[in-house]
Amino acid sequence: MTPRRSLLKTLIALVLTGIMLFPVYWMVNVSFTRPRDMRKAPPNWLPIGGTLDGYRSVLHDQLPYLGTSLAVGLGTVALTVAISAPAAYALAKLAPRGGGVLSFLLLMAQMIPGIIMAMGFYAGYLELGLLNTVGGLIVADSTIAVPFAVLIFTAFMRAIPDELLQAAKTDGAGVLRIFWSVVMPVSRNAVVTVSLFAFLWAWSDFVYASTLDSGGAARPITLGIYHYIGNNNQEWNAVMATAVVASLPATVLLIIAQRYVAAGVISGAVKD
C-alpha cells in the first residue's frame, strides 16, 4: 500500500470509529453534566459548565469494586479456557461418540434466559453459602462464555493438521501430552480470542452480579451503578461516570490484547 493510501485509510478509520463511539462520547458528556442541563433541549454538545460531581462520588465510593471486577474477569477467563479447551480438542480431533449432540446442547444452553439461569444459581448458592463470593460469581459468569468458547475452540482446533498430531503420537506422546504440548501452543490465537470474549462478558455482566452478589463486599463495578439508582431518584451523571471509570482500565487492556490477537491469528494460522 502506498503511504498516501494508508494515510487515507487511517483517516476513514478515524471517522468510522468516531461514528461508532458517538454514543460512548454521549455517555461521557452526560457524566459531566449538571442535573439541570440533563434534559436541556436542544442538548449541549460539550459539557459546558459541567460538573465533576459525578466523578467525585465515583472516586469516593467505587474504586474498591474495580479490583473485584478485575478478579472476576480474570478468573472467568481461566475457568472458561480450562473447561472448554480440552473439550474442544476432543470434539475436534478425537471424534467422540455423542460429540455432535453435546455441541448441539451447548448451542441450546446459550438460549436459556440469563434471569432464569440466575434464579437457578441463586437457589443453589444460597444452600452452598456461595452468595456474595468472588468464586461464585466467576462460576456463574463463565456460563456465558463456556458454550461459545467450546464452539470457537473446536472450529480453530479442527484446522490443526492431523500430521502434526500423528507425528507426536509416533514419538510416543499420550493424548494428554499431545494436547498440552502440541495443540495448546498452536491454538494460542484461539485462546486469546476466547479470553477476550470471556473477559468482556464477565466485566460487563449485570444480571448475575445483581442476583448473586448484590450485598456484601464482593460487588463488581457494574453494581456500583446501583449506588446511584435509588428507588425514586437516579443520579445519572454519577451512573455514567461509573460506566466511564469502569470501562477505562478494560479499554487499555483491550488495546494491548488486540495487538496480540492480530499477531496471534496470523501466526497461528496454518501455513501452507
Partner: protein
C-alpha cells in the same frame, strides 16, 4: 501419563463434579433452614442502595440491632429486584427477618404467604394514619408498618409562571390549569411534564387525575376515566406537554423540569431536596380535581414488614427491630433522610416545625389513598397494567382515550375474574 491413569483421573473429576451438581439440584427442593440468619444475626433487606455503610440509615439499623441485643446484617437491593428476590428467598425458606418493601407489593407478598400479619407479631399500629395503613391491609388483616410516606403534587416554576402572566392561585381545577398551560405555551415556554411510562410508575402518576375525575379503579372505561385520559391526551396534542412523557420515568420528568423551561411538573415528595438545588424559585400545589378541590393522590413509600420464618422464636426480636425503626425519634430521622413524610401525626408535627414548607406535603399525604386499598389488594396489579397500557395507547395516538380504556377494562375484568 498412561491412558489408564488419565481415565482414573477423569472419573475422579467427574465424581466430584457430579456431587456438586447433585448438591446444586437438590437444594431446589430441600427444606432449607434459616441459613446464616441463625444465632445472634438478624437479616434486614431494604430498597435503598443509595445508602452505604456510613449513612445515617445504616447506622440506625445497626443501633436498633444493638438495642435489641443482636447483630444486624443489612443488604440493599434495587427496588425492582426486591420483590422477586424476596419470593425466591421465601421459596428457599430463607427470607430476611425484616423486609422493607414498596407499599403496593405488600399485598402481593402477603397473598403469597411470605409476610406475618401485624396481629401475629403484635405490632402497634395505632398511631399510624389509617389511609397509609390501608395499602398494607388485605382481607381485614394488616401487614407491616409504613416507614414513611410520599405522594404526588404539582411543582411549579415561579419565574416561568410570572413571565407568562399566570397567577398560581387561579389554578383550581382542570380547566384553569389547562388555561394556564396555554398561556405558558404562548409565552414561549413549556407547559407540564409528568411520567406516563409503561410501568407501575405510569399508573402511579396517572392516578391523581384518574381519581380526581371521580373515576374508580373497578371501572376503567367510565366517562370520568375517559375525561382524565382525554385531559392528558389533549395536552400532548396541544403541545402543552412534551411527547417524551410517554417514555419518561419520574426522574427523567424531573430532569426536564430542572431545565427551568417547564411551568409545571407532577412529581413526588422525594424531589424536595433537588428542587432546592434547582436554582429557580418553585412552589407546590396539590393536583387539582376535575371540578376543583384536591384530587386524591396515591401514597408511595415503603412498609417495614416481618417475613415468615421457620421458627416463630425469631419474631420477638424482629418485632423489637421494627418498633425501633418506626419509633418517634427514629422516624423523624429516617423520614428526613429519605425526604418522606412521617406516618404519624406526632412526627408530622415535628417535621413541619422544622421545615414549614412541608405543610403542603403533609396535607397531601393525609388526602392520599393507597393503591391497593378499597379492598383491591392483589387485584390492583391486574388493573394497573391495563391502565398504564391504555395511557400509553392514547398518548402515542394508537387509540383514542375511550377505545383505549374500554380495551383496558376488558383486560382488567378478565384478569380479576
Amino acid at each position: 501419563m498412561n491412558p489408564s491413569a488419565t481415565r482414573r483421573r477423569a472419573i475422579g473429576i467427574a465424581l466430584v463434579a457430579l456431587v456438586t451438581a447433585g448438591a446444586l439440584a437438590a437444594c431446589s427442593s430441600s427444606d432449607a433452614k434459616t441459613g446464616d440468619a441463625a444465632g445472634g444475626t438478624y437479616v434486614i433487606w431494604d430498597p435503598y442502595p443509595q445508602f452505604d455503610d456510613s449513612s445515617a440509615w445504616v447506622k440506625l439499623l445497626g443501633d436498633c440491632g444493638t438495642k435489641a441485643g443482636v447483630v444486624v446484617k443489612r443488604t440493599a437491593f434495587d427496588t425492582t429486584d426486591l420483590t422477586s428476590k424476596t419470593l425466591l428467598a421465601a421459596q428457599q425458606g430463607n427470607a430476611p427477618d425484616v423486609l422493607i418493601v414498596d407499599n403496593p407489593v405488600v399485598s402481593t407478598l402477603a397473598e403469597a404467604g411470605v409476610l406475618t400479619s401485624s396481629d401475629e407479631i403484635r405490632l402497634d399500629t395505632s398511631a399510624i394514619d389509617p389511609n397509609l395503613l390501608g395499602a398494607g391491609q388485605i382481607a381485614g388483616k394488616a401487614y407491616g408498618i409504613p416507614i414513611g410516606a410520599n405522594t404526588l403534587a404539582l411543582y411549579y416554576n415561579k419565574s416561568v409562571l410570572a413571565a407568562a402572566g399566570v397567577d398560581i392561585t387561579s389554578v383550581k381545577d382542570w380547566a384553569s390549569l389547562t388555561a394556564a398551560l396555554a398561556k405558558v405555551k404562548a409565552a414561549g415556554k413549556k407547559g407540564i411534564t409528568f411520567s406516563a411510562i409503561g410501568t407501575e410508575e405510569g399508573s402511579f402518576q396517572f392516578l391523581p387525575w384518574f381519581w380526581g375525575s371521580g373515576a374508580d379503579l373497578t371501572k376503567l372505561d367510565s366517562p370520568e376515566a375517559v375525561s382524565a385520559l382525554s385531559l392528558w391526551t389533549d395536552w400532548l396534542k396541544q403541545g402543552y406537554a412534551p411527547n417524551s412523557v410517554i417514555n419518561n420515568t419520574q426522574t427523567t420528568s424531573w430532569q426536564e423540569f430542572a431545565t427551568g423551561q417547564f411551568a409545571f411538573a407532577e412529581n413526588g415528595t422525594w424531589q424536595r431536596a433537588n428542587a432546592a438545588k434547582a436554582g429557580f424559585g418553585y412552589g407546590i400545589i396539590a393536583v387539582p380535581a376535575r371540578d376543583g378541590g384536591t384530587a386524591a393522590a396515591p401514597t408511595g413509600g415503603e412498609f417495614v414488614t416481618v417475613p415468615v420464618q421457620k421458627t416463630t422464636a425469631r419474631y420477638a426480636i424482629s418485632q423489637k427491630l421494627v418498633a425501633c425503626l418506626t419509633d418517634t425519634d427514629n422516624s423523624l430521622a429516617t423520614t428526613t433522610t429519605l425526604s418522606y413524610i412521617a406516618p404519624t401525626a406526632a412526627v408530622q408535627a415535628k417535621q413541619v416545625a422544622a421545615a414549614p414548607d412541608l405543610a403542603v406535603w403533609v396535607s397531601a399525604v393525609k388526602a392520599a389513598k393507597g393503591r391497593t386499598g378499597d379492598n383491591l389488594g392483589t387485584k390492583y396489579p391486574k388493573i394497573s397494567q391495563p391502565l398504564w397500557t391504555a395511557v400509553q395507547a392514547a398518548l402515542s395516538g394508537s387509540a383514542n382515550p375511550a377505545a383505549a380504556l374500554s380495551t383496558a377494562q376488558a383486560a382488567a375484568a378478565a384478569a380479576t375474574k
